[in-house]
Symmetry: C3
Subunit: 201 residues, 3 copies
C-alpha cells in the first residue's frame, strides 16, 4: 500500500467523522448522520470524477472507501465524547486529508491530459466539495465560503505541484512538498489569523 | 409492459405530485412547482446513472417519464384539494414507488457488475435522492434525515434482494419479495412508531 | 470567432458577475465569491453535459471560460460600486446570456440525437441551473422559482427554435430569432408585470 493511498484513507475517515459530527449538530438520526458522513467523505472526489467523465468514480471501484466511512460513522456514534475532546488531532488529520485530496485530484486530472490550470481547480474540488455539499445539505452556507484560508491553501499547494512538475522534479518529492505546503499554509494562516478580504457593498 | 416498468411509472407520478405539493407549500410559481416535481421524480435515478457512468440517463432515453411527470404536476395544479384528501393513498403509492426505485437501482447496478454492497447503496440513492434534492432546493434539511425509517426500509429490502439473488431464487419472486419487504418494513415502523436513534452531544 | 461563441463568453461574464454579487450580499470572502461566481457561470452547462454524458464538459476543453470568469470576479471586486450602478446594463446582458445559453443547450442536445422535447429542457437547464445552484449554495430558495417569467422565456424560445428547425429554416436566422424571442419575451413580461400563477392550498 502506497503512502498516498494510506493518507487518502485517513483523510476519508476524518471527513466521514466531520460529516457525522455536523449531522449530530443538526439532530439528524443515524441514517442522516451516515449519509452526511458518506457524502462529506466521497463528495469531492465523486464530483471531480463526474466532471472529468472518469468512470467508474473512485469509491465504486474500491470497496475500502465504504468500509472506512462506515467505520468513521460508527466510531463517531459510539465514542462521540472522546472524539469531541480530540478536536486538535482531528483538525490535523483533516488538514492532511485536504492536502492529500488536492494532490490526488491534480494527479488524476493530469493523467487525463487536463490543462494544468484546470487540474489545480480539480484538485481544489476534490478537497472542498465534500464539505460544501455537507453544509448545503445541512442547510448552512458552506463554511469554506466564510472562514479560514482553507481553499487558498489548496490552490497554493496546487500551483507549487504544477511548477515542480514542469521542472520534472522527482514525483515522490513533489507529492511530499505539495502536501506539506498545503498543511503549513493552513496552519500558519490560522496561527496568525490571516483571512481573505470580504466584498462589501 | 412489465409490471416493474408500470410500477416505476406510478412511482414517478407520485414523486412528481409530492414535489409539486412541496413547492406549493413554499409558494413557488407554476415553473418552480413543475421544476421541483420534475427533480423529485427523476433526481434519484439521474444521480445513480451519473455516478455509475450509465449514459444516457433513464429519462433521456424514454419520453414516458417526462409525460408522466407533466401529468403529475398538472393534476396537482388542477385538483390540489382532492389530492390533499388522498394523503393516505398517496402515501401508499409513495411507499410502493420507493420499493420499486430501490429494486430498479439494484438491478441496474448489478447488470453493470457493481459489487452487491454498492448496488444496495445505489438502490437507496435511486429511492431517496430525489427527495433529498427536493428538500435542499426548497431550503429544508432533507426530511429523510430526520423522520421515519424510510431509508432503512430500502436498505433492508436491498439486503434481502442480494441474499435471495445469491441463492439464485426465481427473479420475479425476488422482485416481489423485495418490494413487499420495503413496503411492509416502512408501514410497520410507522404503525409502531419505531425510529432511528439520534446522535446527541 | 462566431457571434454565438462571443455572446456565450459575454453571458458567462455576466453570470460570473451576478454570482459574485450574490456572494457579496452574503458576506462571503474572496474565495467564496470566486467559487459562487464560477458555479453560477458554468453550473448550467456542466449539469447539461453531465446528464447528456457529453464529456469533457465545455469549460474543461476551453480555457477561455475560466479566464472570462476570473475577469468577472476580479472586476466585481475592484469596481463593485460602478457595477452596482450598471444594473440595467447587466440585466440586459443577463437576458442575452440566458438566450444564448438556451440556444447552445438545444443545439448541443440535438447534435447528440436527443429528442427535441428533451432538447428544450436541456436548453432550459443550461440557462437556469447555474442560478439555481448559486441560490442553493447561498441558502436561498432559487429566485427562478419565485420571480419573473425567466424560465418560461427560455421554454418559449426553445419551442420556437424546434419549430423553425423542423421547417428547415436557415440556421443562423433561427439562432437570431430564438435569442430575440427569449429576450423580448422576458422584457415584455417584466414591462407588463406578467407572472406565473402560484399554487395555493
Amino acid at each position: 500500500m502506497s503512502v498516498i493511498y494510506f493518507l487518502d484513507l485517513i483523510g476519508t475517515l476524518v471527513f466521514a467523522i466531520s460529516g457525522t459530527l455536523s449531522a449530530a449538530n443538526k439532530k439528524l438520526d443515524l441514517f442522516g448522520a451516515y449519509f452526511t458522513g458518506f457524502i462529506t467523505a466521497i463528495g469531492g472526489g465523486t464530483l471531480r470524477d463526474v466532471i472529468l467523465g472518469n468512470f467508474p468514480v473512485a469509491w465504486i471501484s474500491d470497496l475500502n472507501y465504504i468500509v472506512i466511512i462506515s467505520l468513521g460513522v460508527i466510531l463517531t456514534f459510539l465514542f462521540k465524547n472522546t472524539i469531541m475532546t480530540l478536536k486538535r488531532t482531528l483538525f490535523l488529520f483533516d488538514t492532511i486529508g485536504i492536502g492529500v485530496f488536492t494532490l490526488i485530484g491534480i494527479e488524476k486530472s493530469l493523467s487525463l491530459d487536463i490543462h494544468p490550470f484546470l487540474a489545480i481547480i480539480m484538485g481544489l474540488f476534490s478537497a472542498v466539495m465534500g464539505g460544501v455539499i455537507r453544509d448545503t445539505l445541512c442547510n448552512d452556507i458552506p463554511l469554506i465560503f466564510r472562514k479560514e484560508i482553507y481553499a487558498t491553501a489548496c490552490l497554493a499547494g496546487g500551483v507549487l505541484f504544477i511548477i515542480l512538475n514542469s521542472l520534472e522534479i522527482n514525483s515522490a518529492l513533489n507529492q511530499f512538498l505539495t502536501i506539506s505546503c498545503i498543511i503549513l499554509f493552513r496552519l500558519l494562516c490560522i496561527r496568525f489569523r490571516i483571512s481573505l478580504p470580504v466584498l462589501k457593498y
